[in-house]
Symmetry: C2
Subunit: 404 residues, 2 copies
């Protein structure tokens, strides 16, 4: 039993707080901090109503290392669960090193001023964490996170060689708006309008945005168009999974969603370059953000399911084999349990489980690690008991043979 400090009070922070509170045998005390303390207090209130447990709250500017250090010294947690903005990973890691506490996050560091996310910045902390006897667990959300663990589980239990790995991410949720984004629109739109990339024969192959499309009938969701994107779990998996010939990531987008993005692009509404408006400069994508519904308001009105999984094609005992592991999650069930919809839930639950793995000692080693570097079995077991049950089947689905 240990004390944790959660930093970040958005949708994911809300889920982490609820799930930690549900597991008193692991998380003895819970602190929740963010720039705006009132958001933490609101979550603490909701957690108290649902679980009867008390959460301590605090205000902290996660861009500011001395301020973080002061808070950590006051709270004295075993570890920090960082679910703040990706821009803030490094300052929080610095503060962990200075105060001697363990670290976990769900998304890799991304500089504020360029559309570039990769692990290099955080992997550079390896030696410092090792020397300090501290552990940093990177990317403990769903994807990255659970998809890495699914892949590691396939490698441990099913395959001698994993030749083709396809990660399939489907959000079949419907919020009833013509257009809205499930998280910060700036980050969401940036992800979708960037070039795609996949890993093949030891190299990265770049694609145009949305260049490759497949139709797939997702269980309990139905047929969807999915598009090849770059996604961050592939960076570490390409290093840590052995002998993979090709790895791709696919995400579903509806035609209406893409139509809106196309129009934004056509008129420059998604631009991060300021334009003159009257006597002052305005960044168009920030004005777009002001027009769109607040992502936090989508929870109560989102219905439908998410279905995220990994399909692997390879060999076992000399015979060809294809397997599929996936999770299906219902937006309204998530909302009933944690006042947050499925996209926050599927990220927040694995963050809690990652912390649980570290506290219980299943995963505890000084250094900086990605999810697939540990034994997947205790994590997989915890998914089943904490709200994200999975299915593991042999499959005849051939992603390459899917219609375009």
């Amino acid at each position: 039993m240990k004390r944790v400090l959660i930093i970040g009070a958005g949708g994911v922070g809300r889920v982490v707080a609820h799930k930690c509170a549900q597991n008193e045998d692991v998380f003895s005390d819970i602190w929740l901090a963010s720039r705006t303390k009132s958001k933490c207090d609101q979550i603490a209130l909701e957690v108290r109503e649902k679980t009867g447990r008390k959460i301590e709250t605090a205000a902290v500017d996660a861009d500011n290392v001395p301020e973080l250090v002061e808070l950590i010294k006051q709270v004295k947690p075993f570890m920090i669960i960082n679910v703040a903005l990706p821009y803030q990973d490094l300052t929080i890691m610095d503060a962990c090193l200075e105060t001697g506490v363990h670290y976990l996050d769900t998304a890799n560091y991304e500089p504020l001023d360029e559309a570039k996310f990769e692990y290099s910045w955080q992997w550079a902390y390896r030696e410092r964490f090792e020397k300090a006897g501290l552990m940093a667990l990177l990317g403990s959300g769903f994807d990255p996170g659970v998809t890495n663990v699914f892949s590691a589980y396939m490698q441990k239990h099913h395959f001698d060689s994993m030749d083709y790995v396809d990660i399939l991410d489907c959000n079949g949720g419907d919020h009833g708006y013509a257009f809205a984004t499930n998280f910060n629109p700036e980050i969401n739109i940036r992800e979708v309008t960037s070039n795609g990339r996949y890993f093949e024969n030891g190299e990265w192959v770049e694609t145009a945005p949305m260049q490759f499309k497949k139709q797939f009938d997702f269980e309990q969701v139905g047929p969807k168009n999915m598009y090849l994107l770059y996604h961050e779990e592939m960076e570490s998996l390409s290093v840590n999974l052995k002998g993979v010939k090709r790895m791709r990531f696919w995400m579903t987008f509806g035609d209406a969603y893409l139509k809106h993005l196309e129009v934004f692009r056509n008129i420059g509404l998604d631009s991060i370059e300021p334009i003159m408006f009257g006597d002052r400069e305005i960044v168009p994508i920030q004005f777009l953000k002001a027009l769109l519904p607040d992502p936090a308001s989508l929870g109560p009105r989102t219905v439908g399911k998410t279905n995220i999984g990994v399909i692997v094609k390879g060999f076992k005992d000399g015979k060809p084999l294809s397997r599929y592991i996936y999770n299906i999650c219902d937006h309204q069930e998530c909302y009933k349990e944690t006042n947050a919809q499925g996209v926050s839930y599927t990220t927040g639950v694995p963050a809690m489980i990652g912390a649980m793995m570290m506290i219980q000692g299943h995963w505890m080693k000084a250094g900086v690690y990605n999810m697939e570097e540990f034994d997947p079995d205790p994590f997989m077991a915890a998914l089943n008991t904490h709200g994200l049950p999975w299915t593991d089947i042999e499959t005849d689905i051939d992603v390459d043979a899917l219609p375009e």
Copy 2:
């Protein structure tokens, strides 16, 4: 030969200035005034280059009656050609009454703060113009304007009864942008997103925006989708044409154009209600306007043609008859002649011709009048000689039988 004062230095004002300058036998002196004198000076420079004629320029706020009166007293024109904003029709009419000069415009008055345009405000000036011995000619553009004259010409020369009147407005121009508007985007978008309306059996029938669609193959443009809209010439034609059973107005829009408008509507980007952005209010449609290309910049890059006409179905000497009168206009030809594209040209030329009719005495009568109330023949002859030649044919086109 008379002196005219043109008010308004947008695309239409530019065309009117060029066309008046080309007809020195009618327009002895030309003055051009607008809020921004530098725009007038630029047009004067271009006119001088093309025709060798000098245009006098002045600054005037057309919202301000005393300022207008002062300018008119200084210039002492025979008449004013008003091609400023529709919001300014009434102040300019007031100034004409006060100074004793004739008046012409191309679009009816519309209050700034509501999406409502109709002739009632201007028709209310009838008695005052009659008493003053002055004439006001309303709507002397293409539509309204030439379409009214086409209708009057049909009535005078071809039909005993005009039962079904369809006005078809096609702009087949391509400016090469994914989205741009040919004139002020605020007014353009407001027109398209309003409910439609047509005249049938003595009554107005309201439709949803874009509710009725037909496919039509426009000569020299090609097949286009056209949509039923309300358009202002129908208000006066429904009063002045006798015995019309049904009158409709159709305008073409491309699928891409409509897709953009739909997205604007979905996210509220076309809204005239301010939203909070940071510490101040911004009206979304004004931000949209700042994002879009300046309509004045479209001229040099617009290629293709406009095709606008009137199809009438009725009876002559007891026999059924259908006729079609239309004009085709080439954007690049217009630009070569007047540095403005076809949408400005087809409005500006009829404004000049309307003024010519009044100066030459073909159309001169104290009061407030619409175009179809005068003999169409001299106007029709002038269209042929001043850049907007028309075709008048018997037709077997049945608008009701067109595919949807």
